[in-house]
């Protein structure tokens, strides 16, 4: 049975919890290890936090994805917020000091296998990350 898309609207701090729990449920259904499921849930938590902190609202989309002969999970975090002016800077470690309301993007990149960011100042940001099953 194919697994459909899951969409979680991010409007409040409670939605961060919902999004990361949905991520863990999907990762577990896809038979990810508990370490990888925790990595995925943690990455979702940070991405949802960025949406709330920088754009105020947005969405987390989750679904299963397939590579050449592997299975994985795709997480897309999107918002229509102010966008990121300097993406290389946002991807540099230490840019977000101690991660208070920091972007945490370098950490998310380390937690996941694939990382893609698209942002237009004034138009919004979309971060797509994938984790492959080992």
């Amino acid at each position: 049975m194919p697994l459909g898309e899951i969409r979680v609207a991010i409007n409040s701090d409670q939605d961060i919890v919902t999004a990361r729990q949905e991520g863990r449920v999907l990762a577990t259904r896809l038979c990810f290890s508990s370490v990888d499921a925790t990595f995925i849930a943690t990455a979702i938590s940070e991405l949802a936090r960025n949406i709330l902190a920088y754009a105020g609202k947005g969405e987390i989309m989750l679904r299963a994805t397939h590579g050449s002969n592997r299975e994985g999970i795709l997480v897309v975090a999107s918002d229509n917020g102010p966008g990121i002016r300097d993406i290389p800077q946002a991807l540099r470690d230490g840019f977000s000091t101690s991660g208070s309301l920091g972007l945490g993007l370098p950490g998310v990149r380390r937690l996941m296998d694939e990382f893609e960011i698209k942002s237009q100042p004034g138009r919004g940001t979309t971060v797509s990350v994938k984790k492959w099953k080992r």
């Binding site: 499921a37 925790t38 470690d93």
Partner: protein
Amino acid sequence: MEVPILKQGEFLIAMFQAALSDADLENLRQGLLQKVVKFRARGVIVDVTAMDVMDSFASRTLREIAHMIRLRGAETVIVGIQPEVAFAMVQLGLTLEGVSTALDLEEGLAYLIEKSKMTD
């Protein structure tokens, strides 16, 4: 979801649930500080065994709790960080610098008792 805070002698024990929101964490920070003052607690154990994810906000709040309580003259120890949660924290670049940690509730209590003996 409120975090229950139990009193055990001169120590306080806070038990985290899996699904704590940012607001819950902020309430815990407030509640713990109030109870430390009210009970003149010497130490606090924060048990995060049930916590599913420790992201930047949660670890920052824990650090703040520990530092505030230290300013009150009491000790804080975080217990029960799950192995996969610890792994994810390291990947994310999160540290709990300056915060004591222990394996579980029992070791956390032993640590606090040892600490309070030293200051007696």
